[in-house]
Structures are given as C-alpha cells and as structure tokens.
Symmetry: C2
Subunit: 193 residues, 2 copies
C-alpha cells in the first residue's frame, strides 16, 4: 500500500538491530486517517470472505483492529497477555515467545468469544518472526474457528514469519513489506507488491 | 447514555466483590457499533472544546479511544504499562497502583507525543478508584498539556474515583454510572443523569 510505504519513509526511524520505529503513527501515537485507509485496503483484499470477527492481541494491535472491525461491521476480540499461568477453563490459552522482551507469555481468549461458528480475520501491527501470529492461529485452531486471512501493517520481509505463514496456505496481506533497512543512512527498501 | 445502560443490563454480569463484567461488548470482545454511538455522545458532550489529541492507557481503553479519535478527527496516544523502571529521558513516567492485579506499574508516554501544545481528551473504559485516570492526569500535567475533559464508559459511582476527579473541576463524562449492584439477583441500579 503506497500510502503506508510513503508514511514509513517519511516518519519511520531505523535503529540498530533491525529495529524500525513507527511509534509516531502506528504503535504509540496512532493516525486514524491512515488506519481507515488501511482498513479499506484490507476490505478490498479480503472481499467475498465470510469474515464475522476480527482477532488481535493486546496492546498495539487493538487500535488498528478496532478501525478494521468498524469497516467490516463486525466485532473485535483481543487476546490478552498474562505472565501467570491461567488455568481458567473458560479460556483458550497458548504461549507466545516475545523476542522484544525475552519472555514467554500466556495468551488467552475467552471461550465465549471464539468458536466453530467464527470466520476470523487476524489483524496485527507488525510481523517479524511470527511468534504472536502463530499463537493467535493456534488459539483459532483450538477454538475450531476458521482463519479467513491475516492482515499486517508492516512485515519485516527479511525475517521468517511471513514465509512461515504463507507456507500454511493462509492469505496474508502485509500492507508494507520491508525487504531491507540500513541503519547508517536510514534507507528502507520495500518489496514490490 | 440510555443505550449503554440498556446494554449493561442485558449483557453485563455482576460478580462477587462488586465486579461488573462487560467483557462481551467492551473490554475483551468489543462492539464497534456501540463504540461509535459512545463516541458521538462524547463529541456532543465536549462540543466546542479545542481537543487535538485523545489519550488512553493500554490495553482495554485503546479500542474505544480509537473510535473516539476517528469521530474527533485527531490522533490517539496510548500510555504504556511497564513493570520495569524506565529511565529513558524521552518518556514521561508516572506510577499507577492496580487494585485488580495488586501491583504498581510504571506508565510511560513518549515526550514526542504529548506537550504544551496539546488539548487532551482522556478516554478509558472503566472508572472505579480512579488510579489509572489520576496517573494519566499526572502525565498530562508533567507534559504541560491541557486536559479538556475525561470520557469514561462505565463509572462505579459507589467508589471514590469519580468524586476525586470532579472535585478537581475537570469535566468528567461517564456514559453509565453504576450506583449499586446486587450479586444475589444480578440487579444493577444506575445514577440518574
């Protein structure tokens, strides 16, 4: 999506360790006009799919997911992170390794809000190694729901997450795929889509 | 707001310890149609105020704040919780006591996204003892920004948070104020507004 790529070039900041900061418009301060255009693009890309629920994970996915849900006219469910083992039988639970924080989280969704009747579009802000999305896919599978697709704002194409998900045959729509970044001069190269 | 009160009566669940669960439409699964009507109501209640930014705190405030920001045509900034002491000079930091989890959190907002030029509407899903909102007020004060008002979905009127905020002379608009709840028979009484 041209507009997102342009915004990343304008306001994204490349830091050491292949870190791309987009906190001025995506994951700390959030630009609703941009989110609306992203939501419209996903509506186009997933047209015809019987999506009845948006699934995301706290915290930075929630803002985008809310605007997407509004565009699709369906509710959002956000998976909750928990550092404690949750044995509540009312929840589906999976574990996610966070590379950013070097921890393993339990991630839960209430059984009330995900089940075999659901056709789910998963939304998140970032895709790098794919741990968070694989955790969400696992929750959807355990719930017996159907994954209709995954929408990601920014994919780091040089990490393995995107390929792992595409190999599963899931429709993954990343609105910007960063092929490479250069910390020295701040350049960012996107994959042609 | 009648529609929110009716929804709480229909789908809210009263639990022991004065717990009101609204997780099927507000803070786990989120109903975007309801959020839009809430956003329109706050737009009406805060009409004429020079609001240029919505501030909330992760995680469950973000969904509502995103829809409110869209209605107002301004960005959202969400404060981030951190269990570790954050000495980054680029952030404003305050501490919030969580009664739900029995912990003290550091809560941070980047200095880049809050400053003396900002006229802020604070949005959150719940107001009980007021700790989270007082923390956000503190962040806004430290940043030298102006609080134009606070919008809360559900206030527990029998806890002290609402009074503490109103005593500061801040315009607080809670769309539903629960005056009392009865766990035995599940009844909920709202304050007349």
């Amino acid at each position: 999506m041209k507009k997102l790529e342009e915004r990343i070039l304008k306001d994204g900041i490349v830091r050491s360790g292949n870190v791309l900061k987009v906190d001025s418009f995506i994951n700390h301060q959030m630009d609703m006009e941009l989110f609306e255009e992203m939501a419209k693009e996903w509506k186009r890309l997933f047209a015809g799919k019987p999506i009845n629920k948006i699934l995301t994970i706290e915290a930075s996915g929630i803002g985008i997911a809310a605007i997407v849900a509004k565009e699709f006219g369906v509710p959002v469910v956000f998976a909750k992170k928990s550092m404690s083992i949750n044995l509540d039988y009312d929840n589906y639970c999976t574990q996610i390794q966070s590379f950013t924080h070097g921890k393993v989280y339990d991630v839960i969704v209430s059984r009330k809000f995900l089940g075999p009747e659901d056709h789910v579009l998963i939304i998140d802000d970032f895709l790098a190694n794919g741990c968070a999305l694989l955790g969400l896919l696992n929750l959807v599978n355990v719930a017996g729901a159907v994954v209709e697709g995954i929408g990601v704002a920014v994919e780091k194409g040089f990490q393995k997450g995107g390929d792992m998900i595409r190999e599963k045959g899931i429709q993954l729509e990343s609105l910007a795929i960063v092929e490479s970044m250069d910390e020295e001069n701040g350049t960012i190269i996107f994959r042609e889509q």
